[in-house]
């Protein structure tokens, strides 16, 4: 009975699907046959192939011409469907919102309000905490937004005065947003371990890293190579840290050198480690992407204003022309 079922099932299968190439080849005694079919795969047009298509007994599947990879890809590019509105995971990195577009809804959508379990809190964060929900602290988003805007002003001001901003995010997955933010703000990035002593012992650690001299429009100036050789290494003018918990050494060095710091402070982090805390969830990549993007955008605006000022006034290191009442640079900034 079982045998009969087998024949019924497999017989149907065998009738539906044509004989597969693999076992036909095992019955084939000619050796050269397979080589010919292999050649057809790579070269598109083969006269032998077209000529022998009449006898369908031998190899019915491989005789049909396969398009080349390039033409198949081109066809796919032309024929693929266009997607409607959908979630793009990297939109926050590639097209970050500017500080004025930050809303509480956006912050909540990017999980900025989620803190840590109540037992892990640092009491210094009390003023940033809205309440407790299911055993975790909820960060007050209006304070987050206010602190984020304040930090954005700081970044913008530093960039406007030609300062060097360092974006740091050393956790897994934070590299892209940190690099993008640094690119926008014209600053530096760090997405791997901070080498302890890079500020306090800079000559030993960053001594071989190259520097350059630029003018007020950021064009490189030639002829300073000799002076750059025995010059002390650079220090950042502002450090923005996405995960202060892992970067205590960095923040401590900044404190020793009087470098202001901005940090994303979760409910388990100490807000006194940084100069300008932003109370938010540092464990959510989406939240970190948002904050880094907003600060990067602020830096971009600062750089733009600095260049506009240079173009309007000639150069940045000039007092304002309040006496003469010349406010052309103001209008240039406002535009």
């Amino acid at each position: 009975m079982i045998l009969r079922q087998l024949v019924i099932r497999q017989g149907q299968r065998a009738l539906i699907f044509p004989a597969s190439q693999r076992w036909i080849r095992s019955l084939n005694t000619e050796i050269g046959k397979t080589d010919v079919t292999q050649k057809n795969k790579t070269h598109e047009v083969d006269l032998d192939c077209i000529g022998s298509q009449t006898d369908a007994s031998a190899t019915p599947i491989e005789k049909t011409e396969e398009p080349s990879v390039a033409s198949a890809y081109k066809t796919w590019l032309n024929q693929r469907s266009t997607l409607g509105p959908h979630y793009e995971p990297h939109a926050l990195v590639n097209r970050p919102p500017s500080p004025k577009d930050v809303t509480l809804e956006l912050l909540m959508a990017s999980q900025a309000h989620l803190g840590h379990a109540t037992s892990l809190w640092k009491p210094q964060n009390q003023r940033y905490i809205f309440g407790i929900h299911q055993g975790i602290h909820i960060i007050s988003l209006d304070i987050t937004a206010a602190h984020l805007r304040r930090a954005a002003k700081v970044v913008e001001g530093v960039c406007e005065r030609g300062g060097l901003v360092l974006f740091v995010g050393t956790r897994e997955g934070q590299d892209r947003c940190v690099v993008n933010a640094a690119k926008l703000a014209g600053g530096c990035h760090l997405f791997e371990r901070w080498i302890p002593g890079s500020i306090t012992n800079g000559q030993q650690i960053l001594g071989k890293c190259k520097m350059k001299v630029v003018d007020d429009l950021d064009n490189e100036l030639e002829g300073y190579e000799e002076q750059l050789i025995d010059r002390p290494t650079l220090k950042p003018d502002l450090v923005i840290c996405m995960n202060p918990l892992e970067n205590y050494v960095l923040l401590h060095e900044c404190g020793l050198n009087g470098i202001p710091t901005i940090g994303v402070i979760d409910t388990d982090a100490d807000p006194t480690w940084v100069t300008y805390p932003i109370p938010a969830n540092d464990d959510s990549l989406r939240c970190v992407n948002l904050i880094a993007g907003v600060l990067g955008k602020a830096g971009e605006e600062g750089q733009r204003r600095r260049r506009a000022m240079v173009l309007a006034r000639g150069y940045t290191n000039q007092p304002s022309d309040e006496k003469t009442g010349d406010t052309s640079h103001r209008s240039a900034i406002a535009s």
């Binding site: 030609g162 690099v179 890079s198 890293c209 190259k210 350059k212 300073y224 750059l228 309040e322």
Partner: protein
């Protein structure tokens, strides 16, 4: 500060023997620009007026003119020192820039179809030491491995669709000589039906000419029995023929040099096997099973200090 190197001129006219030549524009000292903390001293964005009475205007020093004089035209008025690369604070800027540029390239061309595993061109990437020489930074092996993984993924893009910029980006990471293009020469029978095979073992080298025949063997012009007094050596010299049952099908004419009898006999094994493979390629599995194809890489172990030979310790003496 700008005019510090210019000679100070008095009110009286210059004597005729002094001809004042305008100096070529020199680079001012960058420390004068306050470039360390660029935004603190390098740029004044706005000023406040602290004086309340107009009488102080007469006491104050004359206003500084920021207009450029003719001899100062070539000198930049503002300069600041910035890192050459945004990866300055990583301590390995060149490596980090390389990694980021490759990542960006891969992100751009991620959707291009990949070649099937067998058709990917084999490329030898630079070794860690070569890469360190290239960038001049102490890059760790695990970090360089990230670059290698990116390069391998880029190399998997189908060759017919590989963009030009990817080719250019991969070029500096390739070794100067690609060892995968190095293929062994194919030996063939000459017009007399002879096939040469070369085998080595220990410090011996054997050149073997194998020709179809009736089982004659001549090593250095002498028959096998007078070359190798040991039976075991005679057996291993023609072991490739014996293991495949071809002793009476081929004639062997061989030249062996270097080493001792064992080395010479086993060098012959390899030489005969290689020549036999040219005559009958289908014998390869049988010869592999007989152990005739693999070159034995062992050499004499070196003598060490404090030992009598390679490992032999001197006899223990009480004192």
């Amino acid at each position: 500060m700008r005019a510090a190197w210019l000679p100070k001129l008095g009110s009286q006219p210059l004597p005729p023997w002094i001809s004042f030549q305008r100096q070529a524009p020199r680079r001012p000292d960058i420390s004068l620009f306050g470039a360390t903390q660029g935004f603190r001293r390098g740029a004044v964005v706005g000023t406040r007026r602290f004086a309340t009475s107009s009488t102080r205007n007469g006491i104050a020093a004359p206003e500084i003119s920021f207009e450029l004089k003719d001899d100062q035209k070539g000198i930049p008025r503002y300069a600041r020192v910035v890192p050459a690369s945004p990866s300055y604070f990583t301590g390995k800027p060149d490596f980090t820039d390389n990694l980021l540029s490759l990542q960006e390239l891969l992100r751009k061309h991620q959707t291009l179809p990949a070649a099937p595993p067998g058709q990917v061109p084999r490329i030898a990437w630079k070794t860690l030491a070569q890469y360190r020489l290239l960038v001049g930074e102490p890059v760790k092996a695990s970090k360089y491995h990230k670059i290698i993984l990116l390069l391998q993924r880029l190399n998997h893009i189908h060759p017919s669709l590989l963009p030009e910029e990817v080719k250019l980006a991969m070029a500096p990471y390739k070794r100067d000589i690609n060892p995968h293009e190095n293929v062994a020469n194919q030996h063939t029978a000459d017009r007399f039906g002879r096939v040469i095979g070369v085998g080595r073992r220990k410090s011996s080298t054997a050149r073997v000419w194998l020709v179809e025949g009736d089982g004659e063997v001549l090593v250095n012009g002498r028959p096998l029995i007078s070359t190798f007094p040991r039976v075991h050596d005679r057996e291993s010299a023609i072991w490739a023929l014996k293991a495949t049952g071809r002793i009476d099908k081929y004639n062997v004419w061989a030249l062996v040099e270097g080493g001792g009898t064992t080395g010479q006999a086993e060098a012959l094994t390899l030489g005969v096997a290689k020549a036999l493979l040219v005559h009958e390629p289908s014998l390869k599995p049988a010869l592999r099973r007989a152990g005739c194809i693999t070159r034995d890489p062992r050499r004499v172990e070196r003598k060490k200090p404090g030992k009598l030979k390679a490992r032999k310790m001197p006899a223990w003496v009480k004192r």
